[in-house]
């Protein structure tokens, strides 16, 4: 029926599509884990909707022998779990690949397919019926078929099925393994496999999401209190920490709302428990007053904002980097804070641990800006190095006299950092006040607002940012100096740009890359210096208004010449970035706002 074909790319992409409730995640995760455990690198992105049943969702799994930087653009194998998926994706399948679907239920017009795309229609219902009543079992059959036609070792798939269903008992394991085997056998009899040689080293690597990396970074970084209200796409942190956190001494508290989550984290941080809270843009908006509180009373706290499409409820399950301005403007008045955007899964781990340090060293809120793509995509990574995580609790007071006779919690120091005493310590009692206060914590707003004292305290707090700017690692440009084009990114957009850069480099184009991780305090001097040395600049960010571009202009007076923006909810693909770069290097104009396509 199908002819033997060859796939040429270095990486292979599998797209599993259907409606919510069809069991896409189980197919996709089993496949991704199976590949990951064979020594392959996987990057998996689930494009889903805010429904529990119905709608259209698809998970794109890109697999390669080397690090995979993005979900990619192409689809080599399509696993269609419903008719809608055929309509949406069949025409996108790469020649040489094929479409796996239940031909008892789904119609495929083979004549309409691109030349060379294989029709892997299977009688899934009939095959699956032998192994149970659940319609989801058809997905396991499809997995077996995929294993054969894509030339992936069946044992790898089988191992993942066994470990996934182990908890549900032998009967469930046997049924699923049987269904996958039946799918494999059917494919073997009826189809020819695609000639593609996988480089299976058998090296087992970590396979996790950005949210899991954040949770893991919290564990490694000594977080002892995590509070949250459920909100996509931050809930993955809560879901990992809720069962596992207590095993590492972490109190995990689901709260009545984000206001409570943030205020509780402030309370816990104040008494000396490293604390963190996580949410998305809407919840972050509710937290803002207490972010100012944390900065005013100098309580350490980490706030994770996993951005999603806004405004308002917006695109609850879609990608966007639209909260930079919100983070910059969160809460009234001027106060010290950090805004840091991790870029990769690995970086999410190290940066979370670093954020817990920064919060205690500078005694202020640290906002970690993740985004849906970074937080929710699965990726194969090399082992994280826990030994790189060092705990630094900042300056703690040991002696009640503090050199001045009585303990001054908010002592004005050259660094702006006042040595901290924790409640419970003898001889250092004070009240931490959200009203403006003196060095000893006594409020100055009630009787007489002493302007001189106010200035001392404001300056003291803000000085912490000057101190931080001296100590933060410098921004670095990746790639050759004097490149013809410099990419500028923040957050997860880093990855797709890396992907595009690899292709450009192969084509002999000289490009480099500035990723800005510390968004506040802004490293104006170092970034100005870098930008002044660039020939041509292109900023890639997933929002409408170019929030980082504007911040750069505000802080450096420099304008980035070219931008690529996207706010349609789907992540950038490498092709789009590549094409934009090519057009700029050739001097051609392309539409600026990708969302208008």
């Amino acid at each position: 029926m199908s002819s033997s074909t060859t796939l040429s790319p270095r990486k292979v992409s599998v797209r599993v599509g259907g409606a919510a409730g069809d069991g896409i995640a189980s197919v996709a995760e089993t496949l991704a884990k199976a590949c990951s455990r064979q020594g392959l690198y996987v990057y998996a992105y689930n494009s889903y909707q805010s429904v529990i049943r119905g709608g259209h969702i698809n998970m794109q799994i890109r697999i390669g022998a080397k690090k995979v930087w993005s979900q990619g653009d192409q689809c080599d194998f399509l696993v269609a779990l419903n008719q809608d998926t055929i309509a949406r994706h069949a025409a996108e399948v790469t020649p040489g690949g094929g479409i796996i679907y239940n031909k008892e239920k789904i119609k495929l017009d083979a004549a309409a397919l691109p030349k060379g795309v294989n029709d892997f229609g299977i009688p899934s219902s009939a095959i699956a019926a032998k192994f149970g009543k659940s319609p989801i079992m058809q997905n396991t059959v499809a997995l077996g078929v995929l294993s054969f036609v894509a030339n992936l070792p069946f044992d790898a798939v089988k191992d993942v099925i066994i470990s996934t269903f182990k908890k549900k008992g032998d009967a469930v394991v046997d049924a699923n393994v049987g269904a996958a085997q039946a799918g494999f056998d059917f494919a073997k009899e009826n189809f020819k496999k695609v000639e593609y040689t996988w480089q299976l080293t058998g090296t087992k690597r970590m396979f996790l999401t950005g949210n899991q990396a954040i949770a893991l970074g919290a564990v490694a970084g000594g977080c002892k209190f995590y509070s949250a209200y459920p909100m996509t796409p931050a809930s993955g942190i809560l879901h990992w920490l809720a069962p596992k956190g207590p095993k590492y001494g972490i109190v995990v508290k689901q709260c009545e709302d984000e206001i409570a989550a943030m205020n509780m984290a402030v309370g816990a941080g104040h008494v000396g428990a490293r604390s963190m809270t996580g949410t998305s843009g809407g919840g972050f908006a509710l937290m803002t007053e207490a972010i100012g509180l944390a900065s005013m009373i100098e309580a350490p706290v980490v706030v994770v904002n996993c951005q999603r499409g806004g405004p308002s409820t917006g695109l609850p399950t879609k990608q966007e980097q639209g909260d930079l301005f919100q983070a910059l403007g969160a809460s009234q008045g001027d106060f010290p804070k950090f805004i840091i955007a991790p870029s990769t899964v690995e970086d999410a781990f190290y940066t979370t641990a670093e954020a817990l340090n920064l919060a205690e060293i500078y005694q202020c809120p640290v906002i970690l800006l993740s985004d849906l793509l970074l937080s929710e995509h699965y990726e194969t990574i090399d082992d994280l190095d826990f030994s790189k995580v060092k705990i630094d609790r900042g300056e703690m007071v040991k002696d009640a006299s503090n050199g001045s006779g009585t303990y001054k919690r908010y002592l004005s120091t050259p660094s702006g950092i006042s040595p901290r005493a924790l409640p419970g310590m003898a001889g250092m009692m004070y009240t931490a006040a959200s009203d403006e206060h003196d060095e000893d914590g006594v409020v100055i707003s009630d009787v007489f607002t002493d302007p001189a004292k106010r200035i001392v305290m404001m300056d003291k707090r803000m000085r912490k940012m000057d101190t931080a700017l001296k100590n933060l690692p410098d921004p670095k440009v990746e790639g050759p100096a004097g490149a013809d084009l410099t990419f500028i990114t923040w957050g997860s957009t880093y990855n797709v740009v890396r992907d595009a850069i690899h292709r450009l480099e192969k084509e002999g184009v000289k490009v480099n890359h500035l990723n800005i991780k510390y968004l506040w305090p802004f490293q104006s001097d170092a970034i100005s210096k870098i930008l002044r040395s660039c020939k041509k600049t292109l900023i890639v960010e997933a929002n409408f208004s170019g929030q980082l571009e504007r911040l750069i202009r505000q802080e450096t007076g420099l304008s980035i010449e070219n931008h690529l923006r996207k706010y349609d909810g789907e992540p950038f693909g490498p092709e789009m970035v590549h094409a934009k770069a090519k057009s700029l290097l050739q001097g051609a104009k392309t539409p600026e706002l990708a969302g208008k396509r």
Binding site: V219, G245, V251, K253, N263, V266, H270, T431
Partner: protein
């Protein structure tokens, strides 16, 4: 025979309260100091957390660790402090606007969680610091700056709300009866679980209705009338204020496990006191759990 005197002074701070002369909050401060002294607490192991409002200035006047947080958020911050270090005796103080208005969500959820904190609400039935607007406990028809024709909303009944929300200790006091108030507070702090003490603390400047004489005519002590503190129904009935009399004392108390007793993370000790950092073996196991 000389009687042992309580060391109340150790719970005084160097800051003199700046409430209006005659304010009920003076009595509450004295009562809380007496209660803490009676219980023999060490000031360094006590944290008093407040929101914003006249009464929320209390932590600054109290000799212990303190937090003066945001309007309506004291209960949330205090729960975090308590969960972060359950070795601290955690007392929340604030007013009716702060706790029963803007902060009511946190109040209800803290009660159903049965976190071991004591919440003392200085209920003056008015917004004082903002110069006299209607509060959630302002009575029907009372004229205030925001209700010039008299309030057309029914007041909230904090005792009944606490009963249906699962508070495990519910008391009420009148700032004009200092001794009894201190007793109720002492019992509340001693109680394991969430304890509420709603204190009538007259605002002499902005509330000309609910005055000291007004309360003196109406309040009575439940414990003087054989009230069964184990009966939820009896507490509900007493909280209805039948015959225009106002019950004070202990309405209800029950013993169920506290949130802290059920939280598994505490087997490693208070979060604020745990050693930070993972050993190599734990790190390796974590890495492998993702393979």
């Amino acid at each position: 025979m000389p009687t042992e005197t309580l060391d109340v002074a150790k719970f005084k701070s160097k800051i003199a309260p700046d409430w209006c002369p005659g304010c009920g909050d003076f009595g509450v401060l004295a009562g809380l100091q007496k209660a803490c002294a009676t219980l023999g607490l060490d000031p360094k192991d006590v944290i008093v957390v407040s929101g914003i409002g006249c009464s929320s200035n209390l932590p600054g006047f109290f000799g212990s660790y303190g937090m003066h947080t945001l309007h309506g958020r004291s209960v949330a911050v205090a729960q975090g402090a308590r969960l972060g270090n359950p070795d601290l005796t955690t007392i929340i103080t604030g007013g009716d606007g702060d706790g029963y208005g803007i902060g009511i969500g946190h109040f209800i959820h803290a009660m159903r969680r049965n976190i071991n904190v004591t919440y003392i609400v200085m209920n003056n039935q008015i917004y004082g610091l903002t110069t006299g607007q209607a509060s959630p406990t302002t009575t029907l028809n009372t004229q205030t700056k925001s209700t010039p024709e008299g309030s057309i909303e029914n007041p909230l009944n904090p005792i009944q709300l606490a009963l249906v929300s699962g508070a495990t200790f519910i008391g009420r006091a009148f700032s004009g009866s200092g001794e009894r108030m201190a007793e109720v507070m002492t019992e509340a702090i001693k109680h394991k679980g969430f304890s509420l003490v709603d204190v009538f603390s007259p605002c002499v400047t902005y509330n000309k209705v609910n005055t000291y004489p007004w309360f003196r005519e109406r309040v009575y002590d439940l414990q003087a009338e054989g009230h069964d503190t184990g009966s939820w129904d009896a507490a509900m009935a007493a909280a209805k204020q039948p015959d225009n009399r106002i019950a004070t004392g202990v309405f209800y108390k029950t013993s169920i496990p506290t949130y802290e007793e059920l939280e598994p993370a505490y087997k490693f000790g208070p979060p604020a006191k745990q050693k930070l950092g993972l050993d190599k073996e734990t790190a390796t196991a974590l890495i492998n759990s993702f393979k």
